[in-house]
């Protein structure tokens, strides 16, 4: 066991990236993730890495695209409006099969919205956001310790599959301070990158990194190749925290901060004689469909709780496939679903009094 340190989520993101071997970070200031850049600016100079404060989020993601093309581990971080700007580069990285890591500390929208925590980037991260047929791998931590682990895993997964990986946390995940232990150094995996554009030294054919395939059949073959990769990822990399679900009356689907509030709701409901289970997707893509299939027949139904107007609930509905009622409870604008309000929804559903049926 190592030492536990009290640290802010955003700083842990930066520290995790450094421990994962990332020496190239490119960012642009935006609340509530800017501490990642502060930490990187200081550390990269100390250790001889690269920190560039880019002229825009657009430039930052394209710098990451360049660095990943060259074969190094590279990362950018931002928050929702900044992520919208990065979507162009993320689509290109997916098309060119580049291992890039993107951190999204989500704030409320649409538009400039506000700077308070939210989960309303689910659609733009999980469903694409950029143009074209592609998927990001999307990891959703529920606290600072898991943030460390998932950021390290993000670099491993990005290299393993040559694919963009997003670590998406609501604003609390970046701003909260918790104890973290930097364990599991063996989590860091290394992959050869013979495809990298790093100079041929005239010892091999020249390498090309590109996302353009002008001929229909060639592009279709490329996209089919991507989808074969996505199928493998769905087969091998799904992660979910399934808690208290066996014999449950109601199951709550929630991730990040909402999942943590739900843990307390489970205790409150137990006192009232209602057994509540939790399915917490850790990978938002690939989505843990099987966990929902397994518990689709929970007697009273499934309640999805989000800090949004209902985005992940669509995937829950797809996974449940009409076999049960899927309800929704959410708050937005920077508000968090309160323990008592979630409990009230649970009680209604358990008593068969309905809810926001989706």
């Amino acid at each position: 066991m190592g030492e536990k340190i009290l640290m802010k989520g955003n700083e842990v993101i930066a520290e995790a990236a450094l421990r994962a071997g990332c020496r190239h970070y490119f960012g642009y200031p935006i609340t509530p993730q800017t501490e990642v850049a502060h930490y990187m600016a200081r550390k990269m100079e100390e250790i001889g890495g690269t920190f560039v404060q880019a002229e825009s989020e657009v430039a930052a993601i394209n710098m990451v695209y360049g660095a990943a093309s060259a074969g190094v581990r590279a990362m950018t971080s931002s928050s929702s409006p900044g992520i919208s700007l990065k979507q162009e580069g993320i689509s290109y990285a997916a098309g060119a099969e580049l291992p890039v890591v993107i951190i999204d500390i989500v704030r409320c929208g649409p538009g400039l919205g506000g700077i308070l925590p939210a989960q309303c980037d689910y659609f733009q991260m999980v469903k694409g956001g950029g143009h074209g047929d592609y998927h990001n791998i999307v990891l959703a931590p529920q606290g600072v310790q898991e943030m460390y682990e998932l950021v390290v895993d993000a670099f491993n997964l990005a290299d393993k599959y040559r694919n963009p990986v997003v670590v998406m946390g609501d604003g609390y995940m970046g701003q909260m301070m918790e104890a973290v232990e930097f364990r599991d150094v063996e989590r860091i995996e290394r992959y050869d990158k013979p495809w990298a554009a790093c100079g041929s030294e005239m010892k091999r054919e020249h390498n090309t990194i590109t996302s353009i395939y002008i001929e229909a059949d060639v592009l279709e073959a490329h996209v089919n190749h991507l989808y074969e990769k996505y199928r493998l990822i769905e087969e091998n990399e799904v992660r979910a925290d399934v808690f208290n679900c066996d014999g449950a009356d109601v199951i709550i689907a929630a991730y990040g901060t909402c999942a943590r509030v739900t843990k307390n709701v489970i205790k409150d409901a137990a006192k009232m004689g209602i057994k509540v289970g939790l399915i917490r997707p850790v990978t938002l893509w690939p989505f843990p469909k099987k966990a929902f299939e397994q518990y689709a027949s929970v007697p009273k139904g499934i309640l999805t709780v989000e800090m949004s107007m209902g985005q992940m609930v669509e995937d829950v509905k797809l996974a449940v496939g009409g076999r049960n009622n899927v309800y929704f409870y959410g708050r937005t604008g920077g508000n968090v679903p309160a323990q008592k309000d979630i409990l009230a929804e649970v009680v209604k559903i358990a008593r068969g009094e309905g809810g926001d049926l989706r």
Binding site: H24, F26, T50, V52, A54, E55, S56, V58, A59, A60, N62, M63, V64, Y65, G66, A67, A68, S69, A70, G71, V72, A74, E88, G89, Y92, A96, A197, C198, G199, S200, E201, M202, K203, H206, N207, T208, I209, T210, S211, I212, I214
Partner: protein
Amino acid sequence: MSIVFERPHALIDRPLHYCPGCTHGIIHRLVAEVLDELGIEGATVGVASVGCTYNSYEYFNCDMVQAAHGRAPAVATGIRRSLPDRTVFTYQGDGDLAAIGTAEIVHAATRGEKITTIFVNNAIYGMTSGQMAPTTLVGQVTTTTPFGRKPELHGYPIRVCEMLSTLEGTAYAERVAVNNVPNIKKAKAAIKRAFQVQQERKGFAIVEVLSICPTNWGMSPEKSLEWLGENMMEHYPLGVYKNVELTSDGAK
């Protein structure tokens, strides 16, 4: 018998897809000759942009990365910062560099990124069929200025070398043309210097190459070369706008 002229090794033996009379072929060749002469093909990563040269990676024999529209200087920044002992160049057109990618080129220059930019200015969008470019001359007819570019409606053409030469991070900026043999020779010398500036880590280097687009200008290649000399050079004077002394200067 000695060989006096051959295809540069850094240029792949493959037919170019460019329109008849297009000068991209000449500029590609000049870049490849410089890579050969400096012996850096194996230590170079080029960045292709969006426009007619989107697939210049089909022609250059060094490692290549294809960038999104206008983002080549940012991509090149990422590559160069990751490979400090490599040479990195971007090859960009006027729409790519001076319109959608203005922020990226200005900031790469002001950061003094150790990259070389080959900026091909033919005063028009070629690939998308002849729309107004930021460099389109006043009065010039394009598919989006059908009655000629009018400053009161469309603004003025941007002089990129002049603009970038005001930035401390720019070590070298020169405008050349490929409309005749003497100018082509000067263009080659400028491109070579722009790579040497990078090799000596002096800062950002750009060569603006006045070029032609017979297809979208609606002229023969021969007439286009004349038009370049008669019209473009007045607004875009050839010459060195920024220069630094190089160690290799003393070696000569």
